[in-house]
Symmetry: C3
Subunit: 135 residues, 3 copies
């Protein structure tokens, strides 16, 4: 039960990031270490100046799904806040993918303080010790 | 080899649900326990009144891909039927995510009988004992 | 650390295939066996006559994201080349899903030589010995 949960976040839409943050919170609450790796469009969503902005939802959700998620957001907590809580209750590390940083021309200071580090894929894979969840 | 396969289903399109049902069937046939957790748009697809309706395909499939899947459906078995078979041959549990039920205003009686239970993320994570596949 | 990484590739867009190839390369560099299983739209992207053609990006990327990935491609290496390198440095097997071959009417000779074999879901699941990553 002390296996790490590794979350490779690829998608930057609010529905998938909410699912990811929920999983991180659940794992942290169970006492499992969580390692989050931000790539591509998920990394883009962690820019400090837009982390709580509207990042859209999966194409399949349609306008009805988008509206349902927005209603939830109004009374619930944002996925970035869920991740902040997960970091408080457990061992949760969030790293940005160095390669995606370069591709998107994002500098370290552009990122929200939730992000602890910038690492390469080899370092992420070296930390894998349990399930790897690609979201 | 007795590790559980945990499937966190997020997407509700017929191509991804077919991939998920195929994986559940393969795992059940190998004697592995399977735990399915339905979130967001995947949960929506399990409503009793529309489970076998057309749920579309991933945006990237395009009209050609959608047509290929439709041809397959006509001669093959629907993903819901694949899951029914997986439950018959193996230890397959399907649970709905309590949080997504609330978001989509879905009640327990709205769901297809394939769904065994409604649980929270902590209960799902507690059952993780092997790979976690997010689809 | 000798656990296999099993990659079930479903999506055929260049951004997700790049993420998958990067993960395969990272795992191979760490000395982990990698088993890749090609389904649906990912299988379609491995046709010999179009593997290096433009396969688009995830819908959420938008025109800006697509342009960023294209700039990366111009100076970097294509995902198919990354996979070729991963096979050279490590134990990486790539198999096509028999069921998806039938659905998309793809014959074995239509596929790029990167693909080693055609197998069913049961054979793929039998080889699972560690994380299963669905991309």
């Amino acid at each position: 039960m002390t296996e790490t949960i590794s979350l490779a976040l690829f998608s930057g839409t609010d529905d998938k990031l909410t699912a990811a943050a929920t999983m991180a919170t659940g794992a942290a609450a169970m006492g499992r270490p969580v390692k989050v790796f931000l790539q591509f469009w998920a990394l883009d969503a962690f820019r400090a100046d837009r982390i709580t902005k509207d990042h859209g939802v999966a194409h399949e959700a349609g306008p009805e799904g988008a509206a349902a998620l927005r209603r939830l957001d109004e009374k619930g907590v944002h996925w970035s806040e869920l991740l902040r809580q997960a970091k408080e209750i457990g061992d949760v590390e969030i790293a940005a993918c160095a390669h995606s940083m370069e591709m998107l021309a994002i500098g370290r200071h552009d990122l929200d303080p939730l992000v602890d580090d910038v690492i390469g894929i080899a370092a992420f894979m070296a930390g894998v010790n349990g399930p790897v969840v690609f979201i």
